[in-house]
């Protein structure tokens, strides 16, 4: 088939239009940038977790993995099952981070409960403190983020995190962690893990919003953060957290 100069211009022009439409659509659909209405200074994000409500189904782990493309074998969030027998060291497990939930324990003579874990988005974050180039930082709305275009992959932050929430992304060679679904919450959505929790055990909260139920939650319940002695300013609060949980 002969292609004339006119054909070439016509096809080229169509391709150009298609490409620009595609790029615009990609920008609209996959947008990670906060919406115009979103003001970072108006928010201070965190999470509340009701341990008694968690059933260890692993929905949150799967949802997070899918939403954020978490590589296999690594976890932005995971769930632990504690089994505590009086006078003994607690037995803890988290098979594949509870990606497929837990096998039945079969034990009825022990205290047993599930503990969902994620980055605590600490206000005085040790991981942020040690990053040699400031690639990991606390955003003005209180989310600890990693700039993967800037991270050296030295993994000092992984060592500094007391909660084991960070890992080196095997494909990107930069550190990765829970971003509190920043691309979602800045669009007015909740996190993937909270959205998919069937019992409402996890709830995204905004401490700066006076209408947020977190204020009543903190006022009416006995709450604790993980490893409070680390003084990291953790912003993930657990209701009725057992003292054995680390």
């Amino acid at each position: 088939m002969d292609i004339t100069r006119r054909d070439l211009f016509t096809i080229g022009g169509k391709l150009l239009v298609l490409a620009s439409v595609g790029a615009t659509l990609e920008q609209i659909i996959g947008a990670a940038a906060p919406s115009d209405a979103y003001k970072m200074a108006d928010h201070w994000w965190g999470m509340i977790i009701d341990i008694d409500k968690c059933i260890g189904c692993g929905n949150c782990v799967r949802a997070c993995s899918k939403e954020n493309g978490v590589p296999k074998g690594y976890f932005r969030t995971w769930v632990e099952r504690y089994e505590i027998e009086e006078g003994k060291q607690p037995r803890v497990e988290s098979p594949d981070g509870a990606m497929d939930g837990f096998p039945p324990s079969g034990r009825t003579d022990v205290k047993s409960f599930y503990v969902p874990k994620l980055c605590n988005h600490c206000a005085d974050s040790p991981c942020v403190q040690v990053c040699p180039v400031g690639a990991t930082f606390v955003s003005p709305d209180g989310v600890v983020l990693v700039d993967e275009s800037y991270c050296l992959g030295c993994r000092y932050c992984v060592q500094a995190c007391p909660y084991g929430c960070r890992y080196l992304h095997p494909d990107k060679d930069t550190v990765d962690k829970c971003s509190l679904c920043y691309h979602r919450i800045t669009q007015g959505l909740t996190t993937a893990c909270c959205e998919n929790c069937p019992t409402g055990a996890r709830q995204l909260v905004d401490f700066k919003n006076p209408q947020d139920p977190v204020h009543e939650f903190l006022r009416k319940n006995k709450v604790e953060v993980l490893k409070p002695y680390m003084a990291t300013g953790a912003k993930v609060y657990y209701k009725d957290l057992d003292g054995a949980v680390r």
Binding site: Y74, F75, W78, E80, Q89, P90, R91, V92, E93, S94, D96, G97, K117, P126, Q129, V130, C131, P132, V133, G134, Y150, C151, L152, G153, C154, R155, Y156, V158, Q159, A160, C161, P162, Y163, G164, C165, R166, Y167, L168, K172, D173, T174, V175, M230, R246
Partner: protein, 401 residues
């Protein structure tokens, strides 16, 4: 059940993040600091007996210092971004500041001191050699050909000042490496204010042992007479430094055992299982008690020269093994237990990977290659010292100034 894991680890903890290369980093930096501090004994503290090792110690420090950042560089996920540590450093990060401490030490302290020490030799060699060698020496003179007694007096004074600045800098360089680990509150195996000072004394110990071995090896290769007074003096300093180092480490151990805080059971279990060989057998037994006993014996009893040489050789070799084991136990040991204190993981050294055994061996051999080149370029031996402007002249000049 996760392979290689006992008990419970947080899921992201199973894989160790800092590998064998990060063991090499404090080990090599320690050798630098130790070698420099030995050199300063002669220059600042006027311990004349160690004079034969002065230049050797400086070249040893430089050879290892040039290699010191390479393990870190190889370890980075994005080595091409490492320059960002200098361009946009995060001021609260201990690691970011290491880049500046390193640069300060390399350029202001070590290179300057070596240049001042060798300047007269360089000028002489630039005049007496030919071809490319001549060009190299000419470049090394940095355009300064003046080696008159007055100029050498200035060299000596500046060199002295640089060494005086260099001693705290060497302390900073390695104490600082200790701080990188000691300031991690999340890790009880590392988090102790003693860490910088333990690192410092272990650095001095390993550096002194390395220079002593290199001195013995050099005299053997060059078929020169060994200066036993020098050897005995270095061994004495090695003994005292090592004793302080061991005391500090034992203080840390006793303190942990007596306090027995939340982490103790976990750490104690680790020392009795996964770290038993590297910590108890290699570090404390073979690498500390035996060399300390050998060095103590040479201080308490009189042995023949040949026996003393043998004892020093054994003590220094074991010391280097012991300090390496110490670095291993700190870096690797600190990652083998879970921060939940409920489980333990395993570390297997890979062979032919970027952070594997072969890379580590290459990185450990590289300083010796650099050392040989440096020795060829800047001979540290007495017979090669500047003929025209001898040390006596300088000393006389200083005396009369």
């Amino acid at each position: 059940m996760v392979p290689g894991v006992d008990g419970f680890m947080y899921p992201n903890e199973v894989e160790l993040q800092w590998s064998l290369l990060i063991v090499l980093y404090p080990y090599i930096t320690g050798l630098v600091a130790g070698a420099f501090i030995l050199a300063s004994l002669e220059r600042v503290f006027k311990v004349e007996a160690v004079r034969p090792t002065y230049r050797l110690a400086l070249l040893t420090a430089l050879a290892f210092l040039l290699v010191a950042p390479l393990p870190l560089q190889l370890h980075l996920g994005h080595p091409e971004r490492s320059l960002e540590m200098y361009l946009t450093p995060h001021r609260s990060s201990a690691m970011a500041m290491f880049g500046f401490v390193y640069l300060w030490y390399l350029t202001v302290v070590l290179l300057l001191e070596i240049w001042l020490e060798y300047r007269a030799d360089i000028v002489r060699l630039a005049q007496t050699t030919r071809g490319v060698t001549r060009l190299i020496y000419k470049a090394l003179t940095l355009g300064s050909q003046n080696v008159s007694p007055a100029a050498r007096i200035i060299d000596d004074k500046v060199g002295y000042t640089v060494t005086v600045i260099g001693v705290p800098s060497a302390f900073l360089l390695h104490g600082y490496v200790g701080f990188i680990f000691g300031s991690i509150k999340a890790n009880p195996w590392w988090s102790t204010p003693l860490m910088p000072i333990v690192f410092l004394f272990s650095a001095m110990t390993s550096g002194i042992a390395a220079v002593l071995l290199l001195y013995m090896a050099s005299t053997k290769v060059k078929k020169m007479a060994i200066d036993m007074r020098c050897l005995d003096t270095i061994a004495k300093y090695l003994f005292y430094t090592f004793l302080i180092d061991f005391t500090l480490e034992m203080l840390d151990l006793i303190h942990r055992t007596y306090e027995a805080d939340e982490s103790f059971r976990s750490l104690d279990f680790m020392v009795h299982t996964r770290l038993w060989f590297s910590q108890v057998v290699l570090q404390i037994g073979l690498g500390t008690l035996i060399p300390l006993a050998l060095l103590a014996a040479t201080q308490l009893r009189k042995f023949s020269e040949a026996v003393r040489r043998g004892m020093y050789l054994a003590a220094c070799s074991l010391t280097l093994v012991g300090i390496f084991a110490m670095r291993w136990n700190v870096v690797i040991g600190g990652q083998l237990f879970s921060k939940s204190f409920l489980g333990y993981t395993t570390y297997k050294v890979a062979f032919v990977t970027r952070e594997g055994l072969f890379s580590a061996i290459g990185l450990m051999l590289l300083p010796f290659v650099i050392f040989v080149v440096l020795v060829k370029l800047l001979p540290p031996w007495p017979e090669n010292q500047a003929v025209g402007v001898s040390e006596d002249h300088v000393a006389a000049g200083v005396g009369s100034a």
